[in-house]
Structure formats: C-alpha cells, structure tokens
Amino acid sequence: MLFNSIEFAIFLPIVFILHWFVFSRTQHSRNLLLTAASFLFYGWWDWRFLLLMVGTATVDYFLAQVIGSSANPRVRKWVLAGSLISNLGVLFFFKYFDFFVQSFAESFTFFGGHLTATSLNIVLPVGISFYTFQALSYTIDVYRGNLKATKDYLAYLTFISFFPQLVAGPIERATNLLPQFTRLPKFDYDVAVNGTRLILWGLFKKIVVADNCAIAVDVIFGRYTELSSSTLALGAMLFAFQIYCDFSGYSDVAIGTAKLFGIDLMTNFSLPYFSRNIPEFWRRWHISLSTWFKDYVYIPLGGNRGTLRIRIRNILVVFLVSGIWHGANWTFVVWGLLNAVYFIGYGLIIRGTADARIVAHDHVFPSVKELLQIGSTFLLTTVAWVFFRSETVTDAFRYLRRMVSPSLFSMPQPFPVKSLMAVGILLLIEWIQRRKAHGLDFEWTRVPAVARWTVYLVICIIVILNMGEPQKFIYFQF
C-alpha cells in the first residue's frame, strides 16, 4: 500500500478511528490493532513476505530473551552472533544472492574463464533492509545493556511492524520506539494537527516535486548519449531533488502518521542541501541510517580514535557498507566509496568543529562564503548521485564525462519548467522555514482558521492536480 494512494487515504482514517475510539482502553488492545493494521498494510503488497518479517522478528525476540537472561558473556556473544547471522543472512539471500552470483561469473569471464551463472530471480521483499536493521538494533542494544529484553511479544511485534515506518524508515531504535508501545498514549490535539501538516508537506514533496522531477530525470538519463552537457547537468540536479523529496517526503508522511497515533519517530532529514560541508550533509541526510552505522559499525571499529590509517579505514568501511545496503549494484558501491573520499578529504583538510546550527541561522540571507559552501557541497553530492541513479558504473562515468563540454553553457533541451518551478518553490519554503521542524511549521495560532484552511486546501488541490499513476517511493527498492 503506497502512502500516495486512495487505498491508504481510506485505510488511515479507519485505523485512526478504531485506535482512539475502540482499541485504546488498554495498551494490549491498542498494540493488537496496530499490529493487525501493519500486517494489512504490508501484506497488501505480498502476504508471503509478511510471514518472512514475522518469522525473522520472532527469532530475534527469542534470541534477545536468551541474551537478556544469560549472565555468561560467551553465551550472550554467540546468541548475538546468531541474531546477526539470521538477519544478515536473510538480507543477503533476498537482496544480494543474485548480484554476487552474477558478479562472480563476470569476474570469472574477466580472467578468461567461462561460467554460466544461474540466477534465482529472487523477489526482494519490500522494506527488508529497514526492518532487519531495526530488529538488529534491538538485539544489539539488549546485548549492550542499553535495553532490557521485553517479554511483551505483542509490543515487540508492533515495534518491528509499525506500518508508518516499516517499509522505508526511519530506522527506529528500540530504546526510543519500543517503550512507546508499552504505555498508553494520550491524544494531543496540537501533536495530531502538526502530524497532519507534516503528512501534507510530505505528500507535497513527493507528488509535486519528486514525481515531477522524475519525469524529466527519466528522459534525460535514458537518452544521455544524445543530450547536451547543460541538460545532463540539469538532469543530475533534478535527480538530487527527486531523491531528496521522494525519500524525505516519505519520512515526513511516516513521522506525521505516527504522530496521529501518539508515537514519536526520529527525524530522518534536516535540510541536507543547505549543508556547508560533507560531514554536515551526512548529519542531515537519512539520519536514522547514518546514526545506525555510526553506533553499530563505526564506533565498534574504533570510531575516530586511533591512528589516521585506522580512522580512514573505519570511514571507508562505513560508507562501503552504506553503499551496499542501498542495493545490489556496483553503482551503489562506487557511490558509497565516493562519499567516503569526500568525507575523508574534508577531514584531512579542515580542522576544528563544524557549526551544528543551520546555515544563516541568525540572518535572512546566506553570506557569499556560505553560498559557495552550500553550492560546492551540493555539487559534490550531485556528482555522487549520478552513480546512484545510473544503471551501471560505465553509464555513470559516461554521463559525467558528457557533462563536461562546451555545451554546458547552452540552454538545456528539454527544459522542464514544471520541475524547476516545483524545486524553486520547495527551496523557497525550506529556506524560509529552515529554523523550523518542517515546511508547514508556522505560528498557526496567529492565523485565522479560514486562512489556515485555505492554505491547506490549496496545497491539497495542488497535490491532487499533480497526482498521476501513484509512483513508488525510490527507497522501496532498498
């Protein structure tokens, strides 16, 4: 079930009404409803993968119980290893098996041999990368003592399967989310209204900006050998906004939806394209995944302690794994490595602590220096996005090579006016709202109800006018 579909528009109010008017007397009944709703939401795609999700989650539930109840460090370590193998094994099989088989066969051919690879044509379950990482964070946190293993199987199942964030994040930590299913929430009117605004903002980003950019991006990337450099540059830039609005739009709808049920999910994006440098970009982009890698991969490897070589190694490992997490294609590996090079390069050149506050936090316009910093960071990330979007590494290199030629200064053809207008409006709103939580986070109490509703209606109508065939979210493929 897609967030931007009529089925979800019917599903959500029904679940909301049942939640607050029928099932919220006890936390048990409430979790029952949320789990059932989540199963329906996920099973809408394919009920078979529902069994996979419940199966892997149940394995982790029992393994965490063993870890939590055992005082023997060896037993705890081995059981944790079992959880890692179980989760990563399932992920590897469904996501990477065919890729590694094909790559192995190709490398055999490269060295002069001949090997016919039999692909299993395995169907990738939606959201597998997200819920396996979420489940892993639970068992690891129990192992580390950050969290007690829960005996409430239903609360645990609700934590794993909670439908707003099940298929594309944010990847929640058990320490944040699980306790919210062990107590009854109280309905907060302001939180619910804010959640609704966030849903609207997320749909605007996804449908009006991302889906419009996608039309131009598909044409440009599909015909890149025929188009001018300026068009290719525009295509790369539009893809940067497509993936941002697609993914952050989904996260906004997920977080907003969760708020309707009294659940607080973590922020996943914080205006990444206003970043002044690469480390800041990674503090603002897909925050739930980057903090997951930081806490469960980078820091256990040593983090930024140790020699320069070890620190570089740690950064390379994290970005390589992050690239692989995104998909079974060498383009994602190169994307990850490129970002690692950026990150390492910045760390080697710049000393001192970067400003954690948003750019131009105390003035209206950015300074020239800030503008150059934002521009250069955006340029670097856009170059990396070309690998992310391309079918193959060769295509990406060809695309980038063709982007640098005298026709870079010509007028792009085709010239996607609608996409550029949508991006312009997005940037304007996000700039004005950069100190706030999201694009529609205004001081609404000062605005008369008629004016507020007019704004909401206009946004809804703009979203409806831009809806075509419901487009999948890009991160569903991960």
Binding site: I6, P13, I464, G468
Partner: protein
C-alpha cells in the same frame, strides 16, 4: 480532543470532496457539435469495442463511419450515440459490436481497471449523464474516483492551454484503430485467463442495461440496430456461442433484433493479430468484403 480533531478532519475532507466533485461537474467542457457531424454519404455508424474498432476500415467500407473504441463498455457507446444520432439524421443503421463475451463478467474489468478509467473518463465525461456516471461509480467506486480525479486534472490543464479540437478523431473516443500484430506471435505468448469459464457464465448487468438503452434510443429515432460480430479465429472455442449468449442474456429482445454473426467466417491466420481481432491486412480484406457485399447475413459460405 480526539473528537474535535476527527470532526475537523471530517469537515475538511467534506469540503475537499465538494471542491473535487464540484470542479468535475462545473468544468466539463462541451464538445463542439461540428466535431460530431459526419458526411451525409455515411449512413452506417459502427460502434462498440475493439472487435469493430480493429476490423472495419471506414476508408474502404465507405458507407460507414467507425466510432468504435477498444475496451468500450456499452455505457460509453450509449453516451456517444446520444450525441451522435441527433447531429447525423442521415444515419439509419447502427452496427453495434457484439461478441459472446459482451454481456458477461469478462468485460467487467473494463470498468474496474484504473488505467482504463483514467484514460477514458476525462474524454467521455462531457458526454456522460448522471445516470451513466452513477452506474460507473457503483460498478467500481474507487476506480471511478481515480477517474474523476484524472478528469479534474485534465480539465484544469485544458483550461490553462485552451486547446481547440478540430476533428472527431482528436477527442479520442473512437475511430478505426489499426493495430499491427501476428497470430503466431500472440499464440506464443498468450496465457489463459483465470476464471474465464466462470465469468463467461455470469451476466454483467451494466452491459445488459445499456445494450437495452441503446436499442431503445435507436428505436425512438427510427434507426436500425444490428448486433455485429466480426470474424473470430478458428482456434477460439467460443466462436459459435454468440447467438446463444444473446438469447440467454436478452430473451425478450433476441428475437426482435438482427444479429449479423460473422464469427465463423474463415480467414487466413496471417490476417489476425489474435484470436479475436484482425490486423490491418485482415481489416482491409474484411472491409472490402462488406463494401462489395453489403450487410449480408453469413450463412456458412
């Protein structure tokens, strides 16, 4: 507090739906009458679904004008005829596509398929009356709503572009529709439809209703309706069932209405693109036959 929030949301949704529906009804463009006027030499109107859309080339069968449309339910045909007949008094015959599946649940997906309604409703909306819209909405409510939203989108962009149509074919609601293809290619890829036998035995009420309405409409205008079944490839096991289905589904009408059943007329495989439709070569041959022989009943020759 939750009641207040729910009430406000419900009110908002009502207002939004009122705008969506209101815009649908108020922004329906009317097609100019001159788009629907055909030359006085064309006294036969060919209407219906892809069976006639692909088989009758009206540049060859020159007494006819083909306004058929692939996957067209009779409700759309009825809406078209309501507009066409008063503007074309020279029309004395309507050749209406009729096949063994026309009145069965096998055609139900034409109203339930979202991509079809998204493509179709915006074009037909100006011709549909409230009764037709209600029937389509009842047949597949969510799908109809998606079609309604798409109609709003198309109408909005039409208002912005103010493009003027200059001929019937530009509306996109019918016309001879040649589709290339070879029987052998189709046979290599075709998969049997699930539950086809069950659907064949289940009548589809909306199709029956609007076939009767078409017959009544034509009768009121003194126009002869002829149910017309173009040739069906010999590999189709149901090709002889057309008169049987008619008698079973419309017993009160089947004796009074003429069925021109060419289903069992034999043509070479190379003239078909699949077991129900001609390719352009087949359409040319069949249309030439009709041009030379007129609307003669097929008696197994």
């Amino acid at each position: 507090m939750v009641s207040r929030y729910t009430r406000n949301c419900a009110l908002f949704i009502v207002v939004l739906l009122a705008i969506v529906f209101g815009f649908y009804f108020t922004s329906k463009r009317s097609y100019q009458d001159d788009l629907f006027k055909f030359p006085s030499s064309r006294n036969i109107l060919v209407a219906g679904d892809s069976r006639t859309a692909l088989s009758i080339n009206d540049t060859i069968f020159s007494r006819a004008i083909n306004v058929s449309n692939p996957a067209e339910l009779y409700v759309y045909t009825y809406a078209k005829l309501k507009k066409l007949l008063p503007l074309n008094p020279q029309v004395d015959t309507v050749l209406l596509s009729f096949t063994f599946h026309s009145l069965t649940e096998l055609t139900a997906h034409w109203s339930a398929d979202v991509s079809m309604i998204r493509e179709r409703l915006p074009r037909f909306a100006p011709l549909l009356g409230l009764e037709e819209e209600s029937d389509l909405a009842i047949a597949a409510p969510l799908t109809f709503f998606e079609g309604l939203l798409e109609t709003d989108r198309k109408n909005f962009s039409n208002i912005l572009s103010s493009k003027r149509l200059s001929q019937f074919g530009e509306i996109g609601i019918g016309g001879y529709n040649p589709m290339a293809g070879e029987m052998s290619d189709w046979q290599a890829t075709v998969k049997p439809e699930k539950d086809a036998d069950e659907k064949m035995n289940t009548p589809y009420g909306m199709q029956i209703k609007y076939l009767e309405k078409i017959i009544t409409l034509c009768s009121e205008r003194g126009v002869t309706v002829i149910l017309f079944s173009p040739p069906v490839h010999s590999s189709n096991p149901r090709r002889s069932m057309t008169p049987v289905i008619l008698k079973k589904s419309l017993p009160s009408v089947s004796d009074k209405i003429l069925l021109l059943d060419y289903s069992e007329m034999q043509y070479a495989d190379s003239l078909y693109r699949d077991y129900l439709h001609f390719n352009p070569r087949g359409a040319k041959v069949f249309s030439s036959y009709l041009q030379q022989n007129g609307l003669r009943p097929f008696s197994g020759e």
